[in-house]
Amino acid sequence: MSLTHDDTHPATTDERIAARVKAMEAILVEKGLIGTDAIDYMSSVYENQVGPQLGAQVTARAWTDPDFKIRLLADATGACREMGVGGLQGEEMLVKENTEDVHNIVVCTLCSCYPWPVLGLPPNWYKYPAYRARAVRDPRGVMAEFGFEPPDTVEIRVWDSSAELRYWVLPRRPAGTDDFTEEQLAALVTRDSLIGVTAALSPAAV
């Protein structure tokens, strides 16, 4: 058994363990001993734990520091690195800003490409065919299922994340937060708002 999978990018211990867990799941599922659904069901209880705290911090910084926001929108990977956020599966990231006129939502149409270093563990629904297909065809319908209905005057843009380029959304800063600290603001940023299926929380909701 070789210790690395190629000479230029040796697998870290963590990558190796993650691959082993993935391999084990694949074998168990192929043998019909367990369904992916049953594992998803159990993991959904904990999926918020490996959560989007880093993305929330970056978002709060962008809301309070206009120069940082400009850098974030121009080069999300570089701006995140400034805050010590980055790593595997976040190599090239693009952040799309929600405005009064435009709302963005992210999907991976083929699999489940996702900016892990910033958003943490993807929710199970992110990889379901139902989300992957419907987010493209009927984004407003999907958002409605999450309890979010952007005004009719807003244009909806759907972005397809891939392994080379992963998107996430800069939500709009909620009203009534002018005197909030970055920490208070970060508490309003949810994983779902960074994917774009909802807005950030209002101060009354926390």
Binding site: L33, E155, V158, W159
Partner: protein, 141 residues
């Protein structure tokens, strides 16, 4: 799945908590605010596989408990301090051992499949960067 973000009902957490509480070496279980803590996606996946298999196949939880104790003791026999200690790594070792002794997996298969996954270029299945939106829905009015 009724809607996209449905939560499991009934919430399996109560049952999961009772399984965790039944585990040995309770003081070693990583917790945050009283809850079982995870820091990496694979930790959640490995944990969820074990619990889901217990529920689906009905193996005795005590069998897993024994493997977990053995995995922890083995680690302790090779280390004098807690540098590099990971509860979830011990969990995975125990689960692998249980899967082998139960005949669910063979270790050679698992090694080979792991190498296969590691040998794939990152995102082999979805490489191409898509730089324009895949859908634009203009305002409704």
């Amino acid at each position: 799945m009724r809607t996209m973000n449905d939560r499991p009902t009934p919430d399996p957490k109560v049952e999961i908590d009772s399984l965790i509480d039944a585990l040995p070496l309770g003081e070693r279980i990583p917790r945050r605010a009283g809850e079982l803590a995870f820091d990496r996606a694979w930790e959640i996946r490995s944990f969820s596989m074990t619990v889901a298999l217990h529920v689906e196949l009905g193996f005795e939880w005590t069998d897993f408990q024994k493997e977990l104790i053995a995995a922890v003791r083995h680690w302790e026999s090779e280390h004098t301090d807690l540098d590099g200690w990971s509860y979830h790594e011990r969990w995975l070792v125990a689960f692998e051992r249980l899967a082998e002794t139960s005949g669910w997996i063979e270790s050679a298969d698992l090694d080979a499949r792991t190498e296969q996954i590691l040998a794939q270029p990152p995102g082999a299945d979805h490489q191409h960067a898509v730089r324009e939106p895949v859908t634009v829905q203009p305002p409704r009015r």
